[in-house]
Point group: C2
Chain length 179, copies 2
DNA sequence: ACGTACATGTAAATGGTTACATGATTGA
DNA sequence: TCAATCATGTAACCATTTACATGTACGT
């Protein structure tokens, strides 16, 4: 397993919270880090198999009911996870299709750009609302521990980021509508 | 050439401004849309060949001096570009390694997260500064046309986005340092 | 009995980076 | 003449999505 492949670390990170199946992992990635990370089954299942082969996770087949493949992180897996958590971060590589279309928009009608930006704003607004709700839930949760604000911090990142994007959309729409 | 592949549209978009070589395209992508889009030679050269094969661009070999392969957009290419510019946008797929490391940070020392966020802030701050300078240059440019503010708009998106990230970094650092 | 969600995977295709190979031109 | 940068490309590899295949369990 190559060091750079990040899929494995999301899986290890979630398995470090509690053992679960590939199916659970897919859902939990969406629920917990879905705003800034995603994985498909085509990545998850092969990566789990690979992680098991090198001993970073172990598999047990659920006895009762359905034959679910439950994965647990091993001591070795925890070590590798912690190591990765401490390696320097790199800036995310973004590829924003809206901005590309806006940048090259000189040869098409202004209304098209307006429509694109409006659509972007709507979708961003929706995400912003969801993140605000999540923030509220975290803060109201009786077990919220201010010494471990990591989940809250990532949600707040999303709130600020989407907020800025909405601000830009409003500005951009105003400017384009005045043309 | 598949419709969904976006590399071709950046190339068409830039060739629509003026004819240039693959090497130029690489540099110009960086200079113009580099903040939110990038391409490697491994994508550019094969895509140019493909675009020529289907008649969206044409190639002429520079006569004088170096034998540069200069590509121009064709009428058909312009048509395809315009069509794409009008198709609905999709939200960018982000994968933020910093947030992943912060999210899973409960099992490692707080100082590690602080270091990560500080590094992120520094890099973001630098980009923010560059974008502010570009904005100033655009606005001061005598040929700036307020009826075609597309370049300015993308730069301003970057300024607002990086600004929000810097705000978050400061908040997050303050919170973590108080633990 | 039927639909929905649970559940696990694989194969093919696509997307994208990196390393390599090669050589020309320019300026100090 | 040497280094830098201009310039074009390919091959190998890595990353990722999508479509497909297959079947189970649960609630109504």
């Amino acid at each position: 397993m190559k060091k750079e492949n990040k899929t494995q670390y999301v899986l290890l990170g979630l398995l470090n919270i509690h053992p679960q199946s590939g199916y659970d992992l897919k859902n939990n990635i969406q629920k917990t880090v879905g705003y800034f990370w995603s994985e498909s089954y085509g990545q998850i299942y092969p990566t789990l198999a690979q992680l098991e082969k090198v001993g970073l996770v172990s598999k047990t087949v659920q006895k009762s009911g359905r034959q679910r493949q439950i994965y647990s992180i091993t001591a070795k897996g925890r070590k590798i996870l912690k190591q990765w958590l401490q390696t320097p971060i790199t800036l995310p590589k973004i590829r924003n299709e809206l901005l590309l279309k806006v940048f090259f928009a000189s040869s098409i009608p202004t209304e098209v750009s307006i429509k694109h930006i409006a659509a972007y704003m709507e979708q961003t607004q929706q995400l912003h609302g969801i993140l605000k709700q999540i923030e509220k839930i975290i803060l109201q949760h009786p077990q919220y521990n201010p010494k471990k604000p990591y989940n809250l911090l990532t949600v707040q990142f999303g709130i600020l980021a989407t907020g800025a994007e909405m601000t830009w959309c409003k500005q951009a729409l105003k400017k384009l509508q005045s043309i």
